[in-house]
């Protein structure tokens, strides 16, 4: 296992150059990130003990967080024809058996409770005519269990959570503060250093427990659905503090992004009955072991297959020359025309709005051009089932974390309930942990002064730098896409290793145009680039070491799944000298033996899973 923390930095007390790094505000539980997971965790901590001093620190106002962009829905078993075991099985098989099954079982069990809780807080879930919660089909799910608020589910969840937090007095907010470093002393995390964007003040914010809820890292790639703020901040913060990152090689490409913008067209468009068509108008997924085309959507079949398989099918179709070439890459079509205006307006209003506003097409009458787009990070900061990382006092939940319930490929509509279930678990666990801890001591404040000095000398006061942020960022994005895209290969991953090392060197030669204190977004972009370079390295290294193909990680030089060697999570850790190493820990199997992923069976002939652990190993 990785060492959790480095030695304590020498307490070199020097007067701060500006601001007051010593002005430490003390909190019991500090949330870094104010999206779905962070806000849910804050409420959970407040409910454990209303006397706790809880704070949410976020680089944007919480309602700007990227949860807001989630569209299709949130899975949780609620209907009588469904069962927790079936949700667990769909998740585990969808994840190509790389999920920890104890975590998945807890997740399936608690997801409906969390979604109900959100209903009680006012979330405007879409309804059946009789007033009960409505559910829709989603990719890789054998039953209809995805709750939705039209196709703005994440938006409504986030605003409901944000508005609900406003009634909790003990929750302090640091809006538009950017965290640059975790403060680690005496073997545990005791706070952060952050820049208040408005004033440029650099300050230590200490806490007895810190929960990272910073989301994913899609911006490491050139073409992504992820917002500009998704830079892997929390992953890099944890990695630098000595915590391992788990399964970083597993990056999800969503099969239907609009070309140029990368705007996501929700999977719900397919669950409502949309077709994927190649350049000949042919439903090409039937050629990729995903079932036979039917006029109506069939669960776990064709367009309702899992995202990894659909994105891989696109690449194969492209290789056969059956896609359409555009200035923004090859595309296929998503056809919603047969659904009719009424269904589109009721169930998919945001899809229509996005197509009209950003692509200038009307899906009621026209085909939607789409291509696979980087969407989600299955990997992240390694945590246990309560969100605790191996580094004491540090927790993580949501996309930044890897529990792991998503394994090698996440199913659509599992990520929103993941934010709620594991946000709540982490919030409770951190609150209980904080109650047992002493207040942070002076050592962390000395570290904060060091960090302040680093920001000054490396960025704000540095002269003579020659590199532009955008140049390095673009080269990094191209490198990661080329080597760690939908299909990977050893030699290009090795090349990428060298290129990323070069970019790390050049990063130290960055020049800022902006030296002001007030709202310095260029400094922020520079620090985000630093985070992304570390995350890029962890993705490429983890992909290089996994010499098999599983879920979203497809190696052309190792095309088969290898359960003997790789039914295991990768853990990448940073060594003291700055290099990294990759280790493996076994997957937790409780009740479902690894088997073959089968999609596209006809409903009447489907074999009834879940299989018991004694079932014959199919792989």
């Amino acid at each position: 296992m990785c060492p959790h923390v480095g030695p304590v930095e020498a307490a070199r007390l020097a007067p701060p150059l500006f601001g007051k790094a010593m002005d430490a505000s003390l909190h019991d539980v500090l949330l870094v990130g104010g999206g779905g997971a962070g806000l849910r965790a804050a409420i959970a901590a407040a409910e454990v003990n209303p006397k706790l001093r809880i704070a949410v620190i976020s680089k944007v106002y919480p309602m700007r967080s990227h949860t807001v962009s989630a569209e299709g829905g949130a899975a949780g078993v609620i209907k009588p024809d469904d069962s927790l075991d079936e949700h667990a099985y769909d998740t585990i098989s969808g994840g190509d058996w790389l999920c920890d099954q104890d975590a998945v079982e807890a997740f399936a069990k608690e997801a409906p409770q969390e979604l109900l809780q959100l209903e009680r807080w006012g979330c405007p879930w879409s309804r059946e005519p009789d007033g009960h919660i409505a559910v829709r089909a989603f990719g890789g799910m054998k039953k209809r269990r995805t709750w939705f608020a039209a196709d703005k589910t994440g938006f409504h969840m986030l605003h409901t959570l944000f508005q609900t937090t406003l009634k909790y007095e003990p929750i302090t907010r640091y809006d538009e503060w950017f965290v640059t470093k975790l403060l680690v002393d005496d073997g545990r995390v005791q706070g952060v250093v952050a820049i208040e964007l408005m004033s440029g003040k650099i300050q230590a914010i200490t806490a007895k427990a810190v929960i990272l809820c910073t989301g994913g890292c899609g911006r490491v790639f050139p073409f992504t659905t992820n917002a500009n703020i998704k830079n892997g901040d929390g992953m890099a913060l944890a990695y630098r503090a000595g915590a391992p990152l788990k399964d970083m090689e597993f990056v999800q490409y969503h099969p239907t992004g609009l070309p140029f913008t990368g705007i996501l067209i929700t999977e719900a468009a397919r669950s409502e009955g949309g077709y994927m068509l190649n350049k000949d108008g042919y439903r090409y997924l039937q050629d990729y072991n995903l079932g036979k085309p039917q006029p109506k959507p069939v669960l776990r079949s064709m367009e309702l297959g899992p995202r990894d398989r659909l994105s891989q099918a696109f690449v194969k179709e492209d290789e056969k020359g059956r896609t359409i070439q555009t200035p923004y890459g090859s595309i296929v079509h998503l056809d919603l025309r047969h659904l009719g205006e009424k269904v589109i307006n009721t169930k998919l209003p945001f899809v229509r709005e996005l197509c009209l506003k950003y692509q200038n097409i009307d899906p009621v009458k026209e085909l939607i051009p789409v291509r696979p787009v980087v969407h989600y990070m299955m990997g992240g900061v390694s945590t246990d089932i309560n969100g605790a990382t191996p580094l004491a006092g540090q927790y993580a939940a949501g996309e930044v974390a890897c529990v792991s319930i998503n394994g090698a490929n996440r199913l659509g509509s599992n990520s929103l309930p993941e934010c709620l279930v594991f946000g709540a678990r982490a919030g409770e666990a951190a609150a209980l942990f904080a109650a047992e801890q002493n207040a942070p001591d002076g050592n962390v404040l000395a570290q904060a002064s060091d960090e302040q000095r680093r920001l000054e000398t490396q960025f704000l006061r540095k002269t003579g730098g020659r590199e532009r942020i955008s140049t390095i960022r673009e080269e990094m994005q191209t490198t990661v896409e080329k080597s760690a895209g939908i299909y990977r290969e050893g030699s290009s991953l090795k090349e990428a290793t060298n290129k990323l090392r070069e970019l790390q060197e050049r990063y130290h030669d960055i020049n800022l145009d902006d030296r002001s204190r007030t709202f310095n977004t260029e400094l922020e972009a520079a620090l985000e680039l630093g985070f992304m370079l570390d995350v890029a390295e962890s993705i490429v290294q983890s992909a290089l070491h996994r010499t098999e193909s599983r879920g979203a990680h497809q190696r052309t030089d190792f095309p088969a799944r290898d359960d003997n060697k790789f039914l295991a999570h990768s853990l990448i850790c940073r060594n003291a000298d700055g290099s990294s190493r990759v280790e493996y820990v076994p997957v937790k199997i409780t009740r479902w033996a690894p088997g073959e992923r089968v999609y596209g069976e006809q409903p009447q002939e489907k074999h009834e899973q879940p299989q018991a652990i004694s079932a014959e190993r199919a792989s």
Binding site: M63, S69, G122, R127, P129, L166, R468, S516
Partner: protein, 255 residues
Amino acid sequence: MVDKIILEITRYSPEQDVEPRFESYEVPVYKEWVVLDALNYIKDKVDGSLTYRWSCRMGICGSCGMMVNGEPKLTCATFLSAYARNGNKVRVEPLRYFPVVRDLVTELSDFLVKLRNVKPWLIRKDEPPLSQGEFLQTPEQLERYKQFSMCINCTLCYAACPVVGLDPVFVGPAAIALAQRYNMDSRDQGADERMAVLAHPEGVWGCTFVGECTRVCPKHVDPAGAIQQYKLMAVLDWVKSFVMPRGHKSQGCPQ
């Protein structure tokens, strides 16, 4: 040949400038580009100190509102090509009526306080255990408040509202619409509590029904409609207090 267009952008840094000024930048116009793409082009290639907020680039996070040629707009949803004919100049300024922090960044803390003051959360007198399942709500009941729940807090409506310009204490369109979103929710029982803020002279009665808020709203929330609806509700409530002086309760919305 790629078309070019001039962007005249407000620049203001409190550390260097006494007052805001305009600076011009020539940028290429591609048909897919929105105003935000042009700002990103300038920041990446020309001047890294240009300061503005943005995040999702799909019209849902509410960060990138600015005045574009005098109109409050989400810059991620405003195509540059739409302005290419207007003498090839586009003026980009921070949202009107807000204090400016720097360049195109406005100060939002007052707006956040107003949002909180209207108690935008579900208020219940009873809290049945979760085991009793969801509160039932028919699609028709959902429809009554759905529109008001679509607000992304982009604050374009504040930049459009002449009352906000004259009276900064006015609660304002988005906050009132949000209050009404909960008042109209069949699960909510908190309209009385919200009345204290909304019935104040700086609450709904401040609105002179200009309707600009509804016109500029990128999400069709119709704050002006929410305000009118609320005024009617408040008057009915007031009348009821004479007809049924004891025991009358505001139920938020007619069921």
